[in-house]
Subunit: 466 residues, 2 copies
Amino acid sequence: VLARTTGHSYNNGQSNGNYRAPLIQIDHFGFLEDGTFKQRYLVNNEHWDQKGGPILFYTGNEGDITWFCNNTGFMWDVAEDLGAMLVFAEHRYYGESLPFGQDSYSDTKHLNYLTSEQALADFSVLIRELKRKVLGAQESPVIAIGGSYGGMLSAWLRMKYPNVVVGALAASAPIWQFPDMVPCGDFYKIVTQDFARSGLNCDSNIRRSWKAIDNITATDDGLQWLSGEFSLCSPLKKTDLDDFKAWLQETWVNLAMVDYPYEANFLQPLPRWPIQVVCKHLNFDPSSVSDYQLLGGISEAARVYYNYTGNCPCLNTSSTATGNLGFIGWYYQACTEMVMPLCTDGVQDMFEPQDWNFQAFSDECNSLFGVRPRADWAATVYGGLDIASHSNIIFSNGGLDPWSSGGVTRNISDSVVAIVIPDGAHHLDLRYNNEYDPHTVLSARIQEVEYFKLWITQARKLQIPG
Amino acid sequence: VLARTTGHSYNNGQSNGNYRAPLIQIDHFGFLEDGTFKQRYLVNNEHWDQKGGPILFYTGNEGDITWFCNNTGFMWDVAEDLGAMLVFAEHRYYGESLPFGQDSYSDTKHLNYLTSEQALADFSVLIRELKRKVLGAQESPVIAIGGSYGGMLSAWLRMKYPNVVVGALAASAPIWQFPDMVPCGDFYKIVTQDFARSGLNCDSNIRRSWKAIDNITATDDGLQWLSGEFSLCSPLKKTDLDDFKAWLQETWVNLAMVDYPYEANFLQPLPRWPIQVVCKHLNFDPSSVSDYQLLGGISEAARVYYNYTGNCPCLNTSSTATGNLGFIGWYYQACTEMVMPLCTDGVQDMFEPQDWNFQAFSDECNSLFGVRPRADWAATVYGGLDIASHSNIIFSNGGLDPWSSGGVTRNISDSVVAIVIPDGAHHLDLRYNNEYDPHTVLSARIQEVEYFKLWITQARKLQIPG
C-alpha cells in the first residue's frame, strides 16, 4: 500500500500478490528491441463485484500515476454504484515506469519508445493480462477514463482498441489541438476570457503589463526593482526577460486551467476561484496607474498562484507547477507527435503577439533531442476531425478550460458525444464531488455514469460466447 | 507505363508527373530513424470521375504489386460503373518498395520495419497525400480492397484508420487464423475436403502416400526410383525426405487455394478445376495398388500443378509457386506478428499428424532471423474475435479456400458482413469476370459493388464541411 492522501487506499499492482505486473514489451511495433519493462499500476477493488463487475481504467498521462490517482476522485466516488474495480495505469517514461531505468532519458535512442502509440499498446496489453489473470475479471467490461493528455489516450484507446475497452470518458482532451484542425489562437482567447470575467480591468492590466516590463527593465535599476518586487529567487538579468515573460504567461495559463470553485491543490495549492482572487490585485483603471503600480499588482497576483500557503520564501521562475508532471518527457512528445500549435495576437488575447512557427519549433526540437516533429502524423493516425465512425466516447470539456479550444464540444453521433460544463476548468468532472461544485458539473457526472451503465449493458449483450 | 498483361494500362505513381510518390517514413512509430523511402504504387484513372469520384485502393500484400494488379481484375471490371480511380499500392519490403534498397533484408536491424502496422501507416499516408495532391480527389471516398494477407490489411486499415478509408473489401482474409481464435486443424480439413469432393478415392490415396514414401525410400534403390518417377531436378537423399513431403503437402495446399473454375495462372499455370484433373490420376482403389503404383499416380498429380504447360524439364522441390511472392519477407512476418497456427491429425485430414508447436517455431525464427514471434500481439492489436464495433467491412470467403478456416464467414453486424462463395477458391471474387464463373461469385461481386455504392453515399452525406 502506497502513501495515500485521499482517504482511499490502493494496491500497487506490481507488488501485490494478486496482480503481478506483466512484463510489457519496450517496443510493441518492432522485434529487434525485445526487452521488457515493468509498468506501474494501482488497483482498488474494495467495491468491485467480482462476478464480472466493470473495470474503470485510468489511462495515465505525463506524470506520476499516484498523483493522478489522488486527483481523480470521480472514479472513487462512482466505484460503489458501479461495483467497479479501479485501475490506474502509469504511462511509460513517467513516474516509476521507466523502460530503461535511469537511462530512459539519456539520449534519443533511449527516448525512441516514448510515443502515444506505444502507451496505448501498453494499456491494451495490461488490460488483457488483468482480465486473463484476475479471478472474476474475464468478462468484465473495461471503461477507459482520462483527463487532458490522458483523456486523449482514453479516446484513442477506444478508437484503436475497441476490443479492449467498451467505451471512454475523455475529459478535457484536446484531440483537435493539432495543425489545421482548430485556430491556433483560441487557446489564449479562452485564458483571456477567464480573466476578463473574473474582475474589472483584469485582462486589460495583464495585457498592459508586457510593455510595462519592457519599460522598467530598460535600466539596471528597473531590473533590480522588478526582481525585488517579485521576490525572485534569482535576480533578473537582461537576458532573462523572455523567460520571465514566458513564466508569467504560463502562470496565467495554469490559473485558467485550475480555476476551480473550491480550494484545491492540483498544479499548486490555491484558493477557491483563484482567478477572482488574482484579479482583486488587478482591478485598477489601466490609465490611472504607473508601470510600477501595475507590476506591483501583477506581482501580488502571481503570489496568489505561487504562495497561497505563505510558505514560499521566493518565487522561482524556472517552474510553474507540480513536480509530479514529467516536463522533459512531455516536451519530447511535443517534439515528435504531439504538435499543438498555439498563437497569440495581443488583440483577442492579453498576451504579446506571437505566431505559430513550426520551423523554429522543429529546429529547437532538433537541437534539444535530435528529433524533428511530424506535423501531420497525429491527424493521420488519430483521425483528425473525422471521428464519426467510432462509438462510445464521451468528450467532456469545461468552458473555463483553455484546452477546450482543441476539444470536441459538439455531439458527433449518438455514441460519440460531447458534454460541456460551462463553469468547469480543466477536467473538473474528474475530481471528487465537492459542496461548491456548480450544478453543471454534477449533472455532467450523472450523465457520464449513465453512459457507463449503457456501455456495460451493451457489452454484456454483445459478449462473444465461448 | 509498365509492362502489362491484362489489356489495361496503369501509370507508375513514382514516375508519372501527376502523382509523385510521397516520401514515406521508414519508421512511423519512432523518431530516431527519420529516413524515408519511395513506395511504389500504380494508378489508373481511365474511368475516374474527376469530380470526387471514388478511389478503389488495393492494399498490397507480400509480393510484387504489378502481379497483384494483374490478378485483381474485379477492380478493373467495376471501375467504369463506379467512376473510380484505381490505385494499387505496394507493401513495404516487397517488389520495388525496399526501405533500405538492397540492404533491406541484410539483417534483423534492417528488417525491423517490416510489420503490418507500418504498412497500414504507409497506406494511410499515401492515401492522404493523393487526396491532397490530385486535383479532384480531395473529397473522393476511398475504399480499401485486398485479398489474402492484403485482405487482412484492408480490413485492418478500415478498423484502424476509418478516417482514411470509408470501407473495406477483405477477400479471403484469414484475420482469425491466430492463436486461440479458430481450431488449428480446420485449414487442412478444408484442403482435404477439396480433394475428397473432386474425385473418387482422391483424398484417401494422398493420405496413404506418406507411408508409401517411407516404405519406398527405405532403400537407396527406392530413393532413386522416386527421384526418377518425379523427374526431380536434384535426386533425393535420405535427409531430404521431410522437405520432400513438405513440398508435396504445400503442393496440395496451393492447389486448394487456386482451384478456380477456369484456366488461370496465379501461383502456376493451371487447367480449369485443377483438383479434378489432379484427382483423375488418383482415383484407383487404395487397397488394390502397390506403393509404386500409388506414388506413380502422385507424381502424375504433382505434374498437373508443376508442368501444365509441358515446358518444365524437371520438378524443383525448393519452390512451389510464383516468384512474384516474397517468401523470405513473409516468413519474417510469420516469425514476428503473423503467427498462424496450423496442425494436422491424419484423420480429419489427409496429412501426416503434426501438432502446432509454438516453441519449436519460435526457436526456428530465432535462429533464422534473430527474432521471436509474439503469439498474442495480433489478437491485441487487431481485435481478435471482437470486431463488432467496427463498420463497413465485407469479408468474402470461398468455400473451397483453406484460408476460409480463419475467415469471418458470418455477419457480425449490419455493416460488418460476410459473403460466402461456396464454389470459390482463394479470393476468386477479386478476379476478372469469366464465362465459367459460378453464379455464386457473380452474385458476390454484385453485392460487393452494392456495398461500395452505399458507403460512397454515406461518405458524401457525412463529409465534414470546410
